[in-house]
């Protein structure tokens, strides 16, 4: 059968699969999918913050003169911005009593107004009592307060000067760090999407096999066309989902983040090229992994078999993802180049490179290279699919078996 006929037939199958998936109510749920982890994340953050507020540690009781306490409090106020957003240890003033030892015992054992520790001895001979060690946060903060308070007590504080701030776009250091972060995020996004969506093609195949439609298809069009049609239908479905999520994500950032999308650190190749590359590298990654999954699906006849068979592939993908993530931040290292060259890790490595390096030509090279591998793997997977899905192809007996027969 001529190639255009294969493509025509693939298009007919892809159109059916695409419309059957996208024009359904369940696809709306699919689009809402990424919202669930976000909502859970927001929920957990809210709960966490509440728990954090409720779990605010008790203050340190300071048995001292009013003057010393005021100095310590002023020192705390002075230092607080440096620790932001973490809170500094709080202080509570206690007037000294005759029996200091008994007073300390009483404070430390009080359940109504619990304290972390008790500080006495003023600024000259400070003594911290409680279940604290010299290295923990309470002790460190108290040391800082006392040092600052002693400086304040020694003389009038220096007149505060205003630091003039000028924003500059030349921020190689911080920007590089943020771009590494963008690269990692892009890589993780690509990996999660590939694994999730490539797996979906399997369920379609199982549906086809269980409803016996595969026989109708195979009698009318080449098996290669069925394979390509299914693969590209799910690719189109996935890209539709990603497009919706990208627009929704940009809208959400614009709505809720100060400065909107423009405040995000742009990847080295710029946002438009980066987003385009995410789509292209996702397609490459999806085709490479999806073809493998489809080859596996041809062997399986139930969803359970699919799960069992796809497990090693998923694990293999995790290894590849780990390999590609080693390349983040060091695109010109041996690992970085190896990850970019190895076809199955190449899309992940290259999307990280797009975040870090501005040059576009390596992407052109990588896409040609990945395209060659996509063609090769599609050919191989298609042959496996053909042999397995219909128990077709030539006899698998070896030549010596045939001779003996």
């Amino acid at each position: 059968m001529k190639l255009p006929e294969t493509f025509r037939a693939a298009f007919v199958i892809a159109r059916r699969d695409f419309t059957a998936t996208v024009f359904r109510k369940t696809f709306f749920l699919f689009l809402l999918g990424p919202l669930f982890p976000l909502l859970i994340g927001v929920g957990m953050f809210g709960i966490g913050a509440q728990v954090d507020r409720n779990a605010k540690p008790p203050p340190v009781a300071v048995i001292s003169s009013q003057q010393d306490f005021e100095l310590l409090s002023a020192a705390r106020e002075q230092l607080a911005p440096a620790a932001d957003p973490l809170p500094m240890v709080e202080l509570r003033h206690v007037i000294p009593e005759a029996d200091l030892a008994a007073q300390k015992d009483e404070l430390l054992s009080s359940a109504d107004e619990p304290v972390m520790a008790v500080l006495d001895g003023g600024l000259t001979a400070p003594h911290l009592t409680g279940t604290v060690t010299s290295k923990d946060r309470t002790a460190r903060h108290i040391r800082l307060y006392i040092d600052e308070a002693r400086r304040m007590a020694a003389g009038p504080p220096l007149k505060a000067v205003k630091v003039q701030i000028t924003q500059s776009k030349k921020m190689a250091g911080p920007q590089a760090a943020r771009r590494v972060q963008t690269g990692r995020s892009g890589q993780a996004l690509l990996f999660v999407l590939t694994i999730l969506l490539a797996g979906m093609v399997l369920s379609q195949l199982i549906e086809e096999k269980s409803s016996k439609v595969i026989e109708v298809l195979a009698a009318a069009v080449p098996v290669d066309a069925i394979f390509l049609g299914k693969l590209f239908a799910m690719l189109a479905t996935s890209l539709t989902g990603i497009a919706v999520w990208t627009v929704a994500g940009a809208f959400a950032i614009d709505s809720f983040k100060a400065g909107g999308v423009s405040s995000l650190t742009a990847p080295a190749v710029g946002w438009p090229a980066f987003i385009a590359l995410i789509f292209v590298y996702f397609s490459m990654s999806y085709l490479l992994i999806g073809a493998t999954f489809l080859g596996i699906g041809a062997h399986a006849s139930t969803a359970r078999e699919v799960q069992i068979l796809s497990m090693p592939v998923t694990m293999g993908q995790l290894v590849l993802f780990g390999f590609a993530s080693l390349a983040v931040g060091q695109p010109y290292s041996t690992v970085g180049i190896a990850a970019a060259v190895f076809p199955l890790s190449s899309p992940f490595a290259m999307i990280a490179r797009a975040a870090e390096q501005p040059a576009l030509w390596p992407h052109l090279l990588a896409l040609i290279w990945q395209g060659l591998w996509v063609a090769l793997i599609l050919k191989m997977a298609s042959a496996v699919f053909r042999r397995s899905v219909l128990k077709s192809g030539k006899s698998r007996r070896r030549w010596w078996q045939r001779k003996a027969a």
């Binding site: 059968m1 359904r24 109708v216 219909l390």
Partner: protein, 315 residues
């Protein structure tokens, strides 16, 4: 038949599924415009033969041609196929399913939708058009698939066990559809293990048993494999006339039954009359396709197990 072009042909087709020989040297030829039945018991290899003919699977050895092409999928647009295990997308509306089957075989989807509605209307089922397949009964879904098989107006229709699962009324409708297609010049091949359909519809049959084609030819030729059966009632209980009966003659309920001797009815009649049989009734029954099938398929099975020597083969 010799003058008619061949629509489908198989030569020594074999199919080996990992050491199990499903089809073993099947040959058959289907003349254009004919209705040909492929008969055989369940598991005989009919479906595998059909799948090889249509190019769904490749044969292990042997050759096939469909409408003059040795690559069957190249002429898929001119072929309609109803598989044994019916396959339709459960969520697809009936009209859309019919149009989709046409689209697979090159019919533009818009034209397919138009024809699908027309076909449903002609069949008196226009109310099914928008119903998802899953809401239809098995028989209704089968009708939908059958309409999908002919929507692109193929030259050759292959139906694998088309009558299975249909009630008597729908079987009758299907028989009429096959006759209509044949009258329009379409070649029809169908497989069945119910002989009555083949007897009513086919001009040619191929009998497949245990992976082998044990007969291929006209229906009359198949019937000719068996000798006519004589049913005889006599007034005389015994006498010299009994020597005229073959050794295989059996008496069932007061009636003698035996194969008509090769010499024909006249010498038999003469011997019975001369022997004083007192013939009460005598009838000669031409064997049906069912008898021929059992004789041929049963014999093949026996040969497969080595119980029938080659010298005893039916000529």
């Amino acid at each position: 038949m010799g003058e008619r072009a061949i629509a489908a042909e198989a030569r020594d087709l074999t199919k080996d599924f990992d050491g199990k020989m499903a089809v073993d040297g099947v040959s058959l030829s289907v003349p254009e415009g004919s209705i040909t039945g492929i008969l055989g018991p369940n598991g005989a290899g009919k479906t595998t033969t059909i799948r090889m003919l249509l190019g769904i699977i490749d044969p292990t050895s042997g050759t096939r041609s469909l409408l003059g092409h040795d690559r069957p999928l190249e002429v898929a647009r001119a072929v309609g196929y109803l598989p044994e295990e019916r396959g339709l997308y459960p969520s697809m509306p009936a009209a859309e399913a019919i149009a989709f089957m046409g689209a697979l075989r090159g019919l533009p989807i818009r034209e397919g939708r138009r024809r699908a509605l027309q076909l449903l209307q002609d069949a008196g089922h226009e109310d099914w058009a928008k119903k998802p397949i899953r809401t239809l009964s098995k028989g209704m879904a089968q009708t939908v698939q059958l309409l999908g098989t002919i929507i692109h107006e193929p030259k050759l229709i292959v139906l694998d066990e088309p009558f299975a699962g249909l009630d008597a009324l729908n079987q009758q409708k299907l028989e009429q559809l096959i006759r209509d297609q044949s009258a329009a010049g379409v070649t029809v091949i169908f497989s069945t293990h119910v002989i009555a359909h083949a007897e009513r519809l086919c001009e040619r049959i191929a009998i497949i048993a245990e992976g082998r084609a044990v007969f291929e030819g006209d229906v009359d030729e198949a019937r000719g494999k068996l000798r006519p059966i004589v049913h005889l009632r006599t007034r005389s209980e015994s006498g010299p006339w009994q020597s005229a009966l073959p050794q295989s003659a059996k008496k069932v309920g007061g009636e003698w039954r035996f194969e008509l001797p090769a010499s024909g009815p006249e010498p038999l009649l003469k011997a019975l009359i001369d022997g004083g049989a007192g013939i009460e009734t005598l009838s000669i029954e031409r064997p049906g396709l069912h008898d021929a099938f059992i004789a041929i398929a049963g014999e093949a099975a026996a040969r497969e197990m080595g119980h029938v020597p080659a010298s005893e083969e039916v000529a």
